[in-house]
Structures are given as structure tokens and as C-alpha cells.
């Protein structure tokens, strides 16, 4: 073999090895590392975008028509990177002119800060943002934010709740129905070009559209809500109350028409409240001793059990002995043989304890009597049990069972006139509704229906009574007694020709486990209507170190709202004979 052939052979061998290296390397990349490189390519080319779901809006009713209470609005935060801003004065001038009140203070100084992110204006509208964008201001950017907006301001704020910075519903309907309101975000997975425009190529494209949140219609009537809030605020100023709540219900279906509280807050400004307790809707989350308004429940129980009627009598001595305690009447002087109607009119504790005794063996509130009272108050009227109303933060309250060592005769005698128990206002209003509506209990609700995709109101199924509390006949008698109790002293304040009834309540306040003499919670619980009860109103007010009587301070608030309700609901006067 000559030299030339040797060289050629060497070159061949070298080339063979070089080619072999290429082949092995390509085999490694294309076969062995195939999945890895496909994944890397996919990561680079395929973009996975989240399509945010639109949070459901919340509506109230106004004359039966839905009106928006909570909506979504896109606003912009205008920010600047001072190191990029070339004309700080022009930027300051433009932001001041266009954003107006939304611009931050000391704008000119902010633009000259060394920090690379300076907020220049907050909550700027789309229109304002577009005008600013047109100016082509160097170093100025825009951040889009979708926020909840409340066209009616603080109206029903505590029933609505709010959406926090993380987009989660808190308190009220927002908290309770967060999942339904939030909807479900969609996914868009697609090969994109350099500008992130999705292209319809590739096998791994996913287009899962967002499911928008449900648009919820509340049973809250905007006009009733507004009136009760203003009435509560006006009367609270007049009488010096710092705390107060009102609930208005439709006793024929359990729908809540209004829930007003003071103090209250604007959900749009939820982060600037002085105390977080203001977020709570006291109507559902603040159990308290309602006092003598519970006498309507005791009377209804006595009638339903057949142990009393309006004309049943007992001997009133202004005090009654229960175990080692003597219970007195708050109103003295109605002594002698009197009727139960008289006892209710004058809110006599002795009369209610007597009913309690008659539910037992007639002379004491024995275990049998206590079991009966518990059965009615807790199991039938559902006091001390969550109602299941669609609002976050509902409290259970407490009715102590006779099986509990604390559920003794003294406690149960107190319970007959509304002390020694802690129901919430919504529980009391729902139970009372069943007393006046014929004996049928409706679960309280704030949900009237939904707005569908076409924008039509779809009411939910009409509520049905969950159970019977008392007989129809007992309900009729109890309602008449409640009407008479109001009419005995206050009939002239009501519009003539309507069936209005109610009961006052003035309960001592427990402070550190002891009742105080100088502070009371005033309550009024009543109904109104024409041939049937159309509304139930419960009002409660209090203030530290203040005495509020159910008849003196709270009854006028009920009367104010009741007379307005008659006009608002356009009720026709029926006269005494038709009641």
C-alpha cells in the first residue's frame, strides 16, 4: 500500500468517526432526549393563559324588579417609573388635569422620587386612562384592576359583605355565596406568536371558556331597605342610640325585605372602618336577650297547648315565687284577678310565668313544662338554631335545654318573658312570623332568584313552609291578642283600617355576667297588614349607659316604618270587621 492510499484510508476513518459522532449525538438528542426537547419547545411556544371569570352581580328588588346593588368595574392605577420619565412637569400636569381627584397628593414630588414604581393616580376610569394613554407620556404605565362597585353606596352594606384584595367574598352574601358568585376561570392553552397572539396550530390547544359567576337577586327591597336605614339613623340620633338593628320580613314566605344596622359601613371603603365588628350584620350575628317580645311566643304556646286563651284569668300579685327566687312585674298595680290579654297588654311577667306553670302541673314550672317550652321555643320556633339564611357569619344563639343543669325552673320562668335566652333577631322574626301567619314556619331567606345569561330575572321556587309551629286556630287567637296588646295603648298612632299588632321589649343588659340597672336594650316586634299580615318588623336599639324602653323609644320607630310600609305596599284598609 503506497502513501497516497494510506492517507485516503486515514481520511476515511477520520470522516467515519466524525460522522459516527454526529449520528450518535443526533440519536441522543432526537431519540433519547426527544420528550425533554419537545417539552422545552412547548414551554417556549405554547402559552397557557387564564381567562378570568366575571364575578356575579348582586341585585335587590324595587317594586318586584331587579336593580343592581353590586357590579364590577374596571379601573386603572396610573404609575410611573421616575427614571424613565423625561418630562415630569408634563406628566404631573396631564395626570392632574385628567385624573382630577383620583390623582395622589404631591404628584410632582412623586415623579421625581428615586423609587422605580410610583403610583400617580388610583381608581382612574377607562375613559380617563384612554385620554392619558393618548398623551404618550414616557415612563407612565397603567395597571388594570377589576373592582366591585356599589351604585347605592352603603345601602345594605352588612347584608352584601365585600370582596377582599385576594378576590374572596367576605361577610354577608359575598361571603356566603362566594363560590357561586366567583364562577370558574377558563383556560386558553395555545401556540402563540412573538406577540402572544394564539394560533390555531398544534395538537395541544385547549380552549376552556370561563364560567361567569351567578348573578344573584336578593329579596331585599331597595326602597324598604333605604327607608329603614334612614328611619333607624334618624331615630337613633333623636333618642341617642349608638347601636340599633331592624329586620323587615314577609311573614307569608320568610323573605327578608330589609336588614338595617347602625353603625354600618360602605363596602367600597371596607378597609377604612374603625372597627372590624362593623362588618357583622347584627340581625343574624348578634344574639341577645330580646325581653318581653318573647311573651308573644309564650302566649302562642299556651294557646296552642290549650292551657290558656285571651280570657283565661289568674290572680296577679305583682310577684311570683319560682324555687328560691321571687319574680316581679316591671309594671306594677294591675293586681287582682286579671285576664291573660290584660297581662299581655301590661307586659306582666307574672302572667307569663303562670302560663309556664300551666304547661306543667299548674303550680310550678316542672320538667314537663320546661320540655314543652323548649320544644316550642327551640324545636318549633327555632330560637337558638341557625336559620340557614344565606348570609355569612350567622350565629346560633342559645336556648338552654331542660336536660342541662342550668335549664332549671328559674331559668325557664325567665325565658317565658324573654330573659335567660339568646336568640338572634332573624330567629325571633321568623318564629314570630309563624305565630301571625297561621302557624307555618318559613325558613328566612334573602335569595329571590337569579338573572340568567339573557338578563332575565328567574325567580326561585316559591318558598314552602318547613313545618307547623302552632295550629291555625292558635295562630288566629295569638294574633288577635298581639293586635289587642298594641291597640290597648297605641292604636291612634297607626293608620286606621289596618291590622297592626306588636309587643314591646325592654331587657336589662348583661355586663360581666351581671344585669346592670342603668342600661337596657329596647325592642319592638310587630306585624302589619290588611286581611293577612304583610310584614313583620323587629326593631332593637341600645347605647352604653342608656335606658331604652320598648314602648317609649322603640315603638315610634316601628310605627314610623309600619305606616310607611302600608303606603309603599299600597295596602287597602279593610276595617275592624274583616280582621
Amino acid at each position: 500500500m503506497n502513501t497516497s492510499h494510506k492517507r485516503i484510508l486515514t481520511l476515511k476513518i477520520v470522516l467515519f468517526f466524525v460522522m459516527a459522532i454526529f449520528v450518535v449525538r443526533l440519536f441522543y438528542i432526537q431519540i433519547i432526549q426527544h420528550d425533554n426537547y419537545v417539552a422545552q419547545a412547548s414551554q417556549e411556544q405554547v402559552k397557557k393563559l387564564v381567562v378570568p371569570a366575571k364575578r356575579g352581580e348582586i341585585y335587590a328588588l324595587s317594586d318586584g324588579q331587579p336593580v343592581k346593588l353590586v357590579m364590577n368595574e374596571t379601573v386603572f392605577t396610573v404609575f410611573a417609573d421616575p427614571s424613565e420619565v423625561t418630562e415630569p412637569d408634563a406628566v404631573a400636569k396631564a395626570v392632574k388635569e385628567i385624573a382630577g381627584g383620583s390623582a395622589v397628593e404631591n404628584l410632582s414630588e412623586k415623579i421625581r422620587e428615586t423609587n422605580r414604581y410610583q403610583v400617580l393616580a388610583k381608581s382612574v376610569s377607562r375613559q380617563q386612562a384612554q385620554l392619558l394613554k393618548k398623551k404618550n407620556l414616557k415612563g407612565v404605565g397603567f395597571q388594570e384592576i377589576v373592582q366591585r362597585v356599589y351604585p347605592e353606596g352603603k345601602l345594605a352594606g352588612q347584608s352584601l359583605g365585600f370582596v377582599n384584595n385576594e378576590g374572596r367574598g367576605q361577610y354577608g352574601v359575598e361571603g356566603y355565596m362566594d363560590k357561586q358568585l366567583a364562577g370558574k376561570d377558563g383556560i386558553l392553552q395555545s401556540v402563540t406568536d412573538v406577540r402572544n397572539v394564539p394560533l390555531t396550530i398544534g395538537e395541544n390547544n385547549v380552549r376552556q371558556p370561563a364560567v361567569d359567576g351567578t348573578n344573584i337577586v336578593l329579596t331585599i327591597d331597595r326602597n324598604i331597605q333605604s327607608y329603614t336605614e334612614r328611619a333607624l339613623s334618624r331615630w337613633a340620633r333623636k333618642i341617642g342610640a349608638t347601636n340599633g338593628s331592624i329586620i323587615v320580613m314577609d311573614p307569608q314566605n320568610g323573605q327578608v325585605l330589609s336588614m338595617a344596622n347602625i353603625p354600618n359601613y360602605n363596602p367600597a371603603d371596607y378597609s377604612n372602618v374603625p372597627n372590624a365588628s362593623v362588618y357583622n350584620n347584627a340581625v343574624v350575628s348578634a344574639p341577645y336577650e330580646p325581653g318581653s317580645v318573647i311573651k308573644t311566643f309564650t302566649v302562642a304556646t299556651g294557646i296552642d297547648r290549650g292551657v290558656i286563651n285571651a280570657n283565661s284569668t289568674y290572680v296577679n300579685t305583682d310577684s311570683i315565687q319560682v324555687a328560691d327566687r321571687t319574680i316581679h312585674n316591671a309594671s306594677r298595680g294591675q293586681t287582682g284577678t286579671i285576664t291573660m290579654q290584660h297581662a299581655l297588654n301590661w307586659s306582666l311577667n307574672t302572667g307569663m310565668v303562670t302560663i309556664g306553670e300551666r304547661l306543667g302541673n299548674g303550680s310550678e314550672i316542672n320538667l314537663n313544662a320546661r320540655k314543652t317550652i323548649y320544644d316550642y321555643l327551640h324545636n318549633k320556633f327555632r330560637l337558638g338554631e341557625k336559620t340557614g339564611i344565606e348570609l355569612a357569619g350567622e350565629e346560633q344563639g342559645k336556648i338552654i335545654s331542660p336536660d342541662n343543669v342550668q335549664g332549671n325552673a328559674v331559668r325557664y320562668s325567665n325565658m317565658t318573658f324573654g330573659q335567660g335566652m339568646n336568640p338572634t333577631m332573624v330567629q325571633v322574626a321568623a318564629g314570630f312570623s309563624s305565630i301571625v301567619n297561621g302557624g307555618e314556619y318559613y325558613k328566612p331567606t334573602v335569595i329571590a332568584g337569579e338573572i340568567d345569561k339573557d338578563g332575565d330575572f328567574k325567580p326561585k321556587e316559591p318558598p314552602k313552609p318547613t313545618h307547623r309551629t302552632i295550629s291555625k286556630s292558635a295562630s288566629k287567637q295569638a294574633k288577635q291578642m298581639i293586635h289587642n296588646a298594641r291597640a290597648a295603648f297605641y292604636s291612634r298612632v297607626d293608620k286606621p283600617g289596618y291590622d297592626i299588632g306588636g309587643k314591646t321589649g325592654t331587657s336589662e343588659t348583661l355586663i360581666n355576667g351581671r344585669y346592670t340597672d342603668n342600661q337596657t336594650v329596647g325592642t319592638y316586634l310587630g306585624y302589619g297588614g290588611d286581611s293577612i299580615p304583610r310584614y313583620v318588623i323587629m326593631v332593637q336599639v341600645s347605647a352604653s349607659g342608656r335606658y331604652f324602653g320598648g314602648n317609649t323609644e322603640v315603638l315610634p320607630i316601628f310605627t314610623d316604618i309600619s305606616n310607611w310600609m302600608i303606603d309603599y305596599k299600597k295596602l287597602q284598609p279593610k276595617g275592624e270587621s274583616e280582621r
Binding site: V67, K68, M71, N72, E73, T74, S125, R126, Q127, V149, P151, E152, G153, L155, D193, V197, P198, L199, T200, I201, R222, N223, S226, K495, P496, G497, Q572, P573, G575
Partner: protein
């Protein structure tokens, strides 16, 4: 007789073929070599490739159109939402109460119901 018939049939076939036969053969003076053939094939492949690419990119063009339409829908939807918010603000109870019409209203002096 049978044999004669077959003979006639064969003659007829030959006759027909002969009638359609080209009598003048075309011979081009241009001769294409193997390189030219390769170039032409390559050109054909290129043209076909271009046609394929045109069709394929046409689909991407639709994507951009779809994207533009989506953007327009989003913009119009956002405007609609803004108008709805404005409408809700204008029809809010506070706005109604503060309107000139509401301010000019007076309470009735006497209301009587017909029983």
C-alpha cells in the same frame, strides 16, 4: 369459413391502429441534461412548497383576524359594562333624591282612604 372470419377480424384491428398512428415524429432540438432535470424538479418542489406555505399561513391570518375581533368584542363589552355602571349610578336612590324633580316635590297635605 371459421378461419376466414378470424383473419378478417385481425386485419380490421391492424387497420384501426394504423389509422391513428402518428405519421410525423416530433424531435426537439433542445436537449435537457441531467442537471437541468434536477433544477426543474427542484423548482417544481419549491413552487409546491410555496403553495403549501401560502395555504398554511392563510390559517394564521384568520387567527389574527379572530384576535382583532376578540379585542373589539372585549372593548365593546368593557364600554357596555362602564355604561351599565353609570346607568346604575344615575338611577340610584341617592341620585334620584338629589334630582331637581325630587327636590321640587312636596308632601301631600291631606290623604284620605276610601273604605
Amino acid at each position: 369459413m371459421r378461419h376466414q372470419y378470424r383473419h378478417n377480424t385481425i386485419n380490421n384491428h391492424q387497420k384501426n391502429w394504423g389509422r391513428n398512428r402518428n405519421t410525423v415524429a416530433f424531435a426537439s432540438t433542445v436537449k435537457l441534461g441531467p442537471i437541468m432535470h434536477t433544477v426543474l424538479v427542484a423548482l417544481m418542489i419549491t413552487v409546491l412548497g410555496l403553495i403549501y406555505l401560502t395555504q398554511a399561513t392563510k390559517a394564521y391570518g384568520y387567527d389574527y383576524e379572530a384576535r382583532d375581533i376578540d379585542t373589539k368584542i372585549q372593548e365593546i363589552s368593557a364600554k357596555k359594562t362602564d355604561l351599565e355602571v353609570e346607568n346604575a349610578r344615575l338611577t340610584a336612590l341617592k341620585s334620584i333624591e338629589n334630582s331637581d324633580v325630587a327636590k321640587a316635590m312636596v308632601s301631600p297635605k291631606d290623604v284620605q282612604s276610601i273604605r
